[in-house]
Symmetry: C2
Subunit: 309 residues, 2 copies
């Protein structure tokens, strides 16, 4: 079983309007709603690939109840979310039907009490022991200590379970120092962590900070992975247009899927790039196009270079 952790789950709402006019009144023509937060997105992709997956984190209030009802209809994801007193946040993505651009509104999330955080740590420790891999994903809700991910990384490592961290800012900085097996920053997160905008140098710097393997997601350029054995670049066969929402989460799912299937690094990266490309190509935000995925798998370019450093 793969365990995904989403401390700040969200009910993701997408609205389509004809044209977004600030300070105007809009009739929403289409409404879509789904369980969100990076770890739940990762869990959904892993389940679609046929993996056993358990999603933990927090859910509360009326929105938390809606989220769990919808999660229950997501085939293959076991709901191990912990109930909290506060209400799970909503995110609203407003898609302009004329330009295709998206305006994003993110609620902050519920305040987690110290007792709720302690209950989570205990439940997490139990779940980790029966996990093949763990993904720690997304922002921290108010009330959770900034060193939370560092603590969750240490627990996984103590249990001998591979752990991937995908977050940003200070939680990423502290989490990296706890020596996770993998971190998957995007270009902005990597620059914020290291102060460098040069991808290979920054990725190596992130590794020196403690992560065993750093997999940087560089948008249209694909992935750059660095570890003690070498470094790899993996990219899609051609430039593509589409909605990048969820592409990073699909890459995380690909990395974990390749890990538990025992694939070598180049094949893991190919899986991650094919999944993330198939997510950009899918019409619905955050879904992946299975045919495109299968077709792309054999066409991802992975180049390997020996470590000079």
């Amino acid at each position: 079983m793969i365990l995904t952790v989403t401390l700040n789950t969200a009910l993701d709402i997408t609205y389509r309007v004809r044209t977004l006019r600030p300070h105007g009144s809009h009739r929403v023509s289409e409404v879509a709603e789904r369980p969100g937060g990076k770890g739940l997105n990762v869990a959904r992709v892993l389940a679609a690939l046929g993996h056993e997956v358990t999603a933990t984190g927090f859910a509360g209030g009326g929105t938390g109840r809606l989220l769990r009802e919808q999660l229950a209809r997501t085939h293959g994801v076991v709901d191990a979310l912990l109930p909290v007193g506060g209400a799970t946040r909503r995110t609203v993505a407003v898609v302009d039907g004329t330009t295709g651009d998206t305006t994003q509104l993110n609620e902050p999330g519920p305040v987690i009490t110290p007792a709720e955080w302690s209950a989570f740590l205990e439940a997490y420790e139990n779940k980790v022991r029966s996990s093949a891999a763990v993904a720690l994903c997304g922002s921290l809700p108010p009330g959770v200590p900034v060193g939370a991910y560092a603590q969750l990384v240490r627990t996984a490592r103590a249990a001998g379970v591979p752990v991937l961290l995908d977050t940003s800012g200070e939680p990423l900085r502290r989490g990296v120092a706890a020596r996770p097996d993998m971190v998957k920053p995007n270009a902005d997160e990597l620059a914020e962590l290291t102060g460098s905008h040069e991808p290979l140098g920054a990725t190596r710097d992130a590794r020196r900070r403690g992560a065993h393997t750093v997999i940087a997601s560089l948008g249209a350029q694909g992935l750059l992975a660095v570890n003690a054995e070498g470094h790899w670049r993996a990219g899609p066969p051609h430039r593509l247009r589409g909605n990048p929402t969820g592409a990073g989460d699909s890459a995380v799912a690909g990395l974990l899927s390749g890990l538990v299937d025992g694939l070598p690094w180049p094949a893991r990266l190919a899986r991650a790039v094919a999944l993330s490309t198939a997510t950009v190509l899918a019409p619905a935000a955050g879904e992946f196009d299975r045919r495109a995925y299968e077709e792309l798998l054999g066409r991802v370019t992975v180049t390997e270079e020996a470590n000079a450093a």
Copy 2:
């Protein structure tokens, strides 16, 4: 008991952001949520004035459940909403913290089935018999026939219960023809109904179309009321700044409150103007400032003119 009808109830969500940038990503700093739809707003104001009030209409899905839970915490409003299979809509108001302007996103509402509409008609007929007055408010959700308000007006009139209609477009046009005791269009709704932008002429025209009394809400200019006995203008004592959300619903509550308290027209109009002004002055959208209301009551100007027509 006063009965308010809200066929297209809504969970009204208000977001505050620092500055709204189209196609940007925003952290919402404040989230407020309340049961909405014009009839529920009217009910809340009536209850705050001490009236017994029952709210009917439709509620369904996860948002309907949230709405009913919040309505249960609204002191004095009896929930007589009918459950439906579809999900109650949300409305999202995004307040720009820099300019104070609001961008509004309105979901369309659930499709009401013919069976749900029939069940409503039966329940409404029963409730009307024990009502002192009825308010029919707001838009129609998909599936409800466009002549719905005409039918609800006729049922109230057959039971001898005074009925006020506050809607727009074709539902207003058809509803007026069914001869309601009162209609309360705003300037735009009145112009759309009559083709005239001249308030007194348009108000008289609306009356000829079937309404016994037409009370036009003219924004900062207050109310213009016309019936067989005469016509009145009622306005606030001074120009005011604030949030006009819900001011029209407060005016409706004032008119109904004055009616069931047996007040003559000038006093009813004064109550409506004082309530709607106290709503504009309140910090939270759609709430009214009770002290401002009591203070304003004696200071609203009402001028009466004999009918020349």
